[in-house]
């Protein structure tokens, strides 16, 4: 039976088959196939959730190795494993809506998630302060446009410089939008071609075939 799992052709056929099942019913009226495809998406969603086990397993293994070999900072790994296990146990026994679980979420997860998201404001300002220098005419255009929009966006500006609105909106709504649109058009063809290469068996690294071939 192992030939079935090892054969590159068979795996590729599976890929192409399920691709077609999802793809074709959109273009031709065939309700039974569409229903079948819908069910397959539910299966795929479940399959994805199974893989968390491997990811967590590899995290455990990595941390255990740190602890066993007493590498720098190994104590943090002990802390990691204990806290993680504790929370998983609470989750499975008491449930996600229990106070203890919610307490951990609101004390650790929500503030830190906000920190690492909010910290972007700092990185954006430093990137801006560092990169917005008129090294070339192109960069000068970037800076002028950036500053006009920045000025407009400060709500106070509207009060003493109302004339800035049309210029800023021209930049964001027309140029910004044109950029978005060009991006969408350019990238989709690239993406489709890439998918095409995969379906034709050219970019198959993702199935892990290189190893067997060696």
């Amino acid at each position: 039976m192992s030939w079935f799992f090892k054969s590159k052709q068979i795996q590729l056929s599976i890929l192409v088959f399920f691709f077609l099942v999802g793809f074709v019913p959109y273009f031709f009226k065939m309700p039974p196939v569409e229903d079948f495809a819908n069910n397959l998406t539910r299966i795929a969603a479940v399959v994805g959730n199974f893989t968390i086990v491997i990811a967590v397993y590899s995290q455990w293994r990595r941390s255990l190795r740190f602890i066993r070999e007493k590498r720098k900072g190994w104590a943090y790994h002990i802390y990691l494993l204990i806290l993680m296990s504790m929370m998983i146990i609470i989750g499975f026994t008491l449930g996600e809506h229990h106070t203890a679980y919610k307490w951990l979420v609101s004390t650790i997860v929500t503030p830190l998630s906000s920190v690492f998201y909010g910290i972007l404001a700092f990185y954006m300002s430093s990137a801006c302060a560092r990169a917005f220098r008129a090294r070339s005419p192109k960069a000068a255009f970037l800076i002028i446009a950036g500053c006009i929009v920045l000025l407009y966006q400060a709500p106070l500006t509207g009060a003493f410089l109302p004339g800035i609105e049309p210029y800023s909106l021209f930049l964001t709504d027309n140029l910004g939008m044109a950029l978005s649109r060009m991006f969408a058009i350019a990238i989709v063809t690239g993406a489709i071609i890439l998918n095409m290469r995969m379906l034709l068996g050219r970019e198959l690294a993702f199935l892990g075939f290189a190893r067997e071939e060696s």
Partner: protein
């Protein structure tokens, strides 16, 4: 929506032209794959910079950090996995340490396994399976910003010589690029949406713009048949330009919505 040019009974309204475009695209791609002669292709600075960046890490004895994003299999992730494979190959050959932060999204678990496989196989192919270290591909949870905190933690501690961050990174990309900059690493990135790209263009040393990323696998493979497919991308861009120009002229001068109707067919 404009009235379609024609209705075909077995095809839902408005979907015919999409199908036609996809079929033509497939045919063109297959034709291009048979190409024998290397086509002209403009240099992509960000991709060419990869070799130098990894070389710099080897010389300085510093690791190189590569990531492929936090999302499900999408074109950008697949392209980034090709880049990962390419870097892993150089790293395996030159004994440069490779660190790949993984995780970051709930749909990225499957991708993680694939990435591990890709890197491991490059070490096997280079004849050095014993130098592959899976612990250098840490799983940093399935939560975007926990991943980011882990990622920036790695950058601060390991002080890599280069960070190659491609694939489906979202808002955390600027976070990582700036931190990478702060620790003095050469930063090569790509954006998957416009605002990200604008910010990364300022924050990184090299950036893959627009469709340079999906073309990366083909570009780096240096295979004639793969590079030739990039031409199809250009043909479709040209097609888009022609449709827009003709459509605008017909609409404005002749008050005809022919192109709109064609597109809604």
């Amino acid at each position: 929506m404009a009235k379609p040019l024609l209705e075909i009974p077995i095809i839902p309204t408005g979907r015919f032209i999409g199908l036609v475009l996809l079929v033509i695209l497939a045919i063109l791609a297959i034709r291009q794959m048979r190409a024998k002669k290397m086509p002209f292709i403009r240099r992509v600075a960000a991709l060419d910079a990869i070799d130098d960046a990894v070389g710099r890490c080897t010389e300085m004895g510093r690791p190189v950090v590569v990531s492929y994003g936090i999302g499900d299999f999408s074109y950008s992730v697949i392209a980034a996995l090709s880049i990962l494979g390419y870097v892993a190959k150089i790293c395996a050959e030159t004994d440069t340490r490779l660190i790949v932060p993984t995780g970051g999204g709930h749909s990225s678990y499957v991708v993680r396994e694939t990435a591990v496989d890709i890197v491991r196989s490059q070490y096997i192919l280079a004849g050095k399976p014993e130098t592959f270290r899976e612990e250098d591909m840490p799983f940093l949870s399935g939560e975007q910003y926990a991943y980011t905190s882990g990622y920036t933690g790695i950058l601060i501690r390991e002080r890599p010589g280069a960070t190659i961050m491609t694939g489906s990174h979202a808002s955390e990309a600027v976070n990582i690029a700036e931190q990478s900059n702060l620790v003095g690493a050469i930063t090569i990135t790509s954006g998957t949406y416009v605002s990200n790209m604008a910010a990364l263009a300022c924050a990184s040393d090299y950036i893959m713009l627009m469709d340079e990323q999906p073309a990366a696998g083909a570009y780096l493979s240096k295979n004639v048949d793969q590079i030739a497919t990039i031409r199809v991308q250009d043909i479709y861009k040209a097609l888009a330009m022609v449709l827009i120009v003709v459509g605008l002229v017909l609409m404005t001068v002749f008050k005809s919505d022919l192109i709109l109707r064609l597109l809604d067919t």
